[in-house]
């Protein structure tokens, strides 16, 4: 059990690290939104799954309900985070930001 908890947590940390590096390293607004929206959502899935797994280590109804709430957090983030990224990218495009290309 603990092995899976550590594995999931490390996987989540990997996704978060990738997201943070991407936000710094990518060249323009739209490409930066990509790691901010996608990798954070995925990293959250893994870290929260690890948390809920750790929480049900000694299984009873109370711990199970807390874990269920953690899973609910993931579900809501999966709805809201991509939507927010979509809305921000949409607003950027409407405001006239030109997507980055390698050669003009």
């Amino acid at each position: 059990m603990d092995f899976f908890v550590i594995l999931l947590m490390l996987l989540g940390a990997l996704f978060f690290t990738g997201g943070s590096i991407g936000i710094i390293r990518f060249p323009d607004f739209f490409t930066r939104l990509h790691p901010a929206g996608k990798l954070d959502t995925m990293g959250l899935l893994f870290t929260m799954a690890s948390c809920s797994l750790y929480n049900v280590n000694d299984f009873n109804l109370n711990n199970f309900l807390v874990s269920l709430k953690i899973i609910f957090i993931v579900a809501f983030i999966f709805i809201t985070s991509p939507t927010a990224t979509h809305a921000i990218a949409d607003a950027g495009l409407r405001a006239g930001l030109v997507p980055w290309t390698k050669k003009r």
Binding site: F76, I79, T80, T83, H86, A87, D90, R94
Partner: protein
């Protein structure tokens, strides 16, 4: 005039800083607050009010005056924003933009004061109008009911967990603001009009003050909830717990109403005819 203002600020600021020198040390276990007050709260809040969350017991019962006037301050902030921003003068607009829905062509019409906002074929739009966005609307339509339920949970569960009227009211207002952003100001004004928002916030403050007044009518001090046991058919301790719930509901209504009211005024700069 500016110099007088600066001098006043400097003087009052230095007086405040000077007065902090008399304060007890940070975290001093022998200070009066830690030897008398905290001990009393920790030992007696459960037998006095039967509220497990000591913070709620202190805020809504022991220091109820403070919380009542905090609610009043929030209401006054909404009122100040309204008085500063609300534009009552109907300035004659030179033209309005109307969008023909089937073709998507936008028309600029002069002297459009007596034309309807929405018909089957035409729709009045703003200069910042954006086309219907399926993703944003569907997602916020999906998420808004859950946020509202969570807000009600936070208000009702303030006795047992962090939360209470202020937080729940803000979450409720934020849910409605999310709806107003993803749809439009006109759509949201159809659901909660300006009048409703104002009445909501006034009723919230009145519920709080009314609970206090009711205590006065049943023969105890203002906001001393124990005497409400006569009409709630319980012992004074559970009456305090119930009265804290009433007060939290009042605070929640007031804060939610003020949040929506502020959003209406700021997003349309007081004109209410267009905006997000």
């Amino acid at each position: 005039m500016k110099i007088i203002g600066i001098i006043t600020i400097l003087l009052s600021g230095s007086i405040m800083i000077y007065s902090t020198l008399d304060f007890p040390e940070w975290g001093d276990p022998l200070s009066p607050a830690n030897t008398h007050l905290s001990v009393y709260y920790i030992e007696n809040s459960m037998p006095d009010t039967s509220v497990p969350n000591i913070v709620t017991a202190i805020l809504a019962d022991y220091r109820s005056y403070d919380t009542m006037f905090e609610t009043t301050v929030i209401f006054a902030a909404g009122l100040a924003c309204f008085l500063l921003l609300r534009n009552f003068r109907k300035k004659k607009k030179e033209y309005s933009l109307y969008r023909h829905i089937p073709t998507g062509v936008t028309l600029k019409i002069k002297n459009s004061a007596d034309l309807a906002d929405d018909t089957k074929l035409f729709q009045r739009i703003d200069s910042t109008w954006v086309p219907f966005d399926l993703v944003t609307r569907t997602a916020s339509g999906l998420i808004v009911p859950f946020i509202q339920i969570f807000a009600l949970y936070v208000i009702a569960h303030g006795h047992h967990s962090p939360g209470g009227g202020f937080q729940g009211g803000v979450i409720f207002g934020a849910a409605f603001i999310l709806f107003a952003i993803s749809y439009s100001l006109r759509e949201s004004l159809k659901i909660i009009s300006e009048k409703t928002a104002v009445i909501l916030s006034c009723v919230g403050v009145m519920i709080y003050a009314g609970t206090g007044l009711l205590c006065l009518l049943f023969g105890s001090n203002f906001l001393n909830y124990g005497s409400l046991a006569q009409i709630l058919f319980t012992d004074p301790v559970s009456a305090r717990s119930l009265a804290i719930l009433f007060v939290e509901i009042g605070v929640g209504l007031a804060v939610a109403g003020v949040m929506i009211w502020l959003y209406y005024n700021i997003s349309s700069s007081g004109k209410y005819n267009q905006g997000l």
